[in-house]
Symmetry: C2
Subunit: 314 residues, 2 copies
């Protein structure tokens, strides 16, 4: 990850100063290892995770986080102060990181952050990833944790969500759950979701010069697929039959490489009669403005309102 | 209007063949007259209207259209077969055309088209426009017709809507109605709306090369404003206090120069606690794919569902 790309347009006047500062940082162009260079991928993941870990240390968040084995999968359980362990709603959180990063201690941090932003007990799945564990290992892990969660909670108490690669797996989990006869969760949250590993959406070209966070991921997607068809609905849930999906919240940004993913999934869900809300951040790149800009905070409140409306209330 | 601009990216594979054909047509770059060249503006408007009139002849639509004077303003009343004249819901339609075009016989066609797509009795306001009648003439006309409509219908039976420049005036009408103590309509429809005459949104730059329908309109906006502040909320309702707005449907496209207008208004409405839905068409330029592409039809159905949910039912 060495080259950088400077945005070809001026910083927008239509966002907060905090957002402008984020947009002023040039994108770091990726330098992917060869597909079979296992150690190369592991080094890349380790370096990226270490950098993020420094930014989001797990002990920075005032929630209890406990590590458990759930359905054979390491899962972090984060409880905001005052939430019970054995009852009440659970947010099943699938972390992001391009399907290769964000595991381990970083997953612990992400789980704590989701618990804080949702106000709910959160189960964060530390699913297996490439290069050692390609598809379907990670998805199998997510389904296993969902299945185990349904043994201790009613579906009306379960919300499934994820951002970026986590949005891929969260949606694919719902596809698999339906195929396997499991009940649907109360709601699904897809935050700037990687729903199309073929990268066929228009924003993959139109926003390429404007998204200062994310570039093309086809090399990583191929590593994840390990020979499976990238267009298979279990890898690219945008192409799934979404009939019977739970109420779904979708979010992206106007500069987001994944804008088309969110927009297209929204239309597919609506065409299938599914309750679905689309929210788009002005001039927002992939993943938002770092998490604490006014625009991020406002969208997080919108997300929480959606979750609170759809989960079973006490 | 002579130069053309070719899109710098390939046609998307993520839309219908009908949509691709529309996207393949290069944008016609505008060649605006000087601000004080009244005849020049009138020639431009006449040429543009004649071209659209050929495409949308008023007698092509199977609805009765009657011309009336309503509150002193020429208004076309279009009734789909079977709808009563003196009762039931009315869609108050504010036509588009960059605040200078789309009047007269073209307004008759647009009113008939809206009646067909909504299935409702539609009142189309043939409001006054520049170069002869700048702001606030057109807005005054819209408010006068709304006021007159409320004398024969309950607010719960009234939906206000418009596309493009019509979205500007529809939203400004709501701002004015609230200031003047008039009741709110049952719902507001803002289709790819020109809500910001200052053109401050990010998509005015990021989508400039991708929207093959619309280019910058600042020259026209200045003609409309005739010295008034373009950022005044009556000219740019994006900057209005939107507290107490009716439930609002917003639509735009990912290639739409007005994408930021729709996205920003959606966030403002939501932040003010207003029920508001955002719908975005994949790879869609300003105004959609000509009206009959599958994507247009699907979004029209979404719009109609929203209107039917919010207006008073029989």
């Amino acid at each position: 990850m060495t080259e950088t790309a400077q945005s070809p347009v001026p910083l927008p006047s239509s966002v907060s100063e905090a957002a402008r500062q984020v947009l002023a940082v040039p994108r770091v162009a990726a330098d992917w290892p060869a597909q079979d260079d296992v150690e190369g991928w592991e080094r890349l993941v380790a370096a990226s995770d270490a950098s993020l870990q420094e930014r989001f240390p797990a002990d920075a968040f005032p929630v209890d986080v406990e590590e458990r084995q759930v359905g054979g999968v390491r899962t972090f359980v984060a409880r905001p102060p005052g939430t019970p362990d054995d009852a009440g709603p659970v947010y099943l959180d699938v972390h992001g990181g391009a399907l290769i990063m964000g595991g381990g201690e970083l997953c612990r941090s992400f789980t704590a952050m989701t618990a804080m932003s949702t106000g709910l007990t959160t189960w964060g799945v530390d699913y297996r990833m490439p290069p050692r564990h390609p598809y379907p290992a990670g998805l199998d892990d997510c389904v296993a944790v969902y299945r185990a969660l349904l043994e201790v909670r009613e579906p009306a108490d379960v919300v499934v969500g994820g951002a970026s690669a986590g949005g891929n797996l969260a949606a694919a989990l719902v596809v698999r759950a339906r195929e396997e006869g499991l009940p649907m969760p109360a709601a699904l949250v897809l935050n700037t979701p990687e729903l199309d590993l073929t990268e066929s959406g228009d924003s993959f070209t139109t926003n390429l010069a404007f998204d200062n966070v994310l570039g093309p991921l086809l090399e990583v997607n191929r590593l994840y697929a390990a020979g499976a068809d990238l267009a298979d609905p279990h890898l690219s849930p945008l192409f799934a039959d979404v009939t019977g999906f739970p109420p779904t919240f979708l979010q992206a940004g106007t500069r987001d490489l994944f804008l088309s993913n969110a927009v297209r999934m929204h239309r597919r869900l609506r065409a299938a009669g599914v309750e679905a809300e689309l929210h788009v951040g002005e001039a927002m790149p992939h993943g938002g403005f770092g998490g604490t800009a006014p625009e991020d905070v406002e969208l997080a409140a919108e997300r929480r309102r959606f979750v609170d409306r759809h989960r079973r209330r006490d």
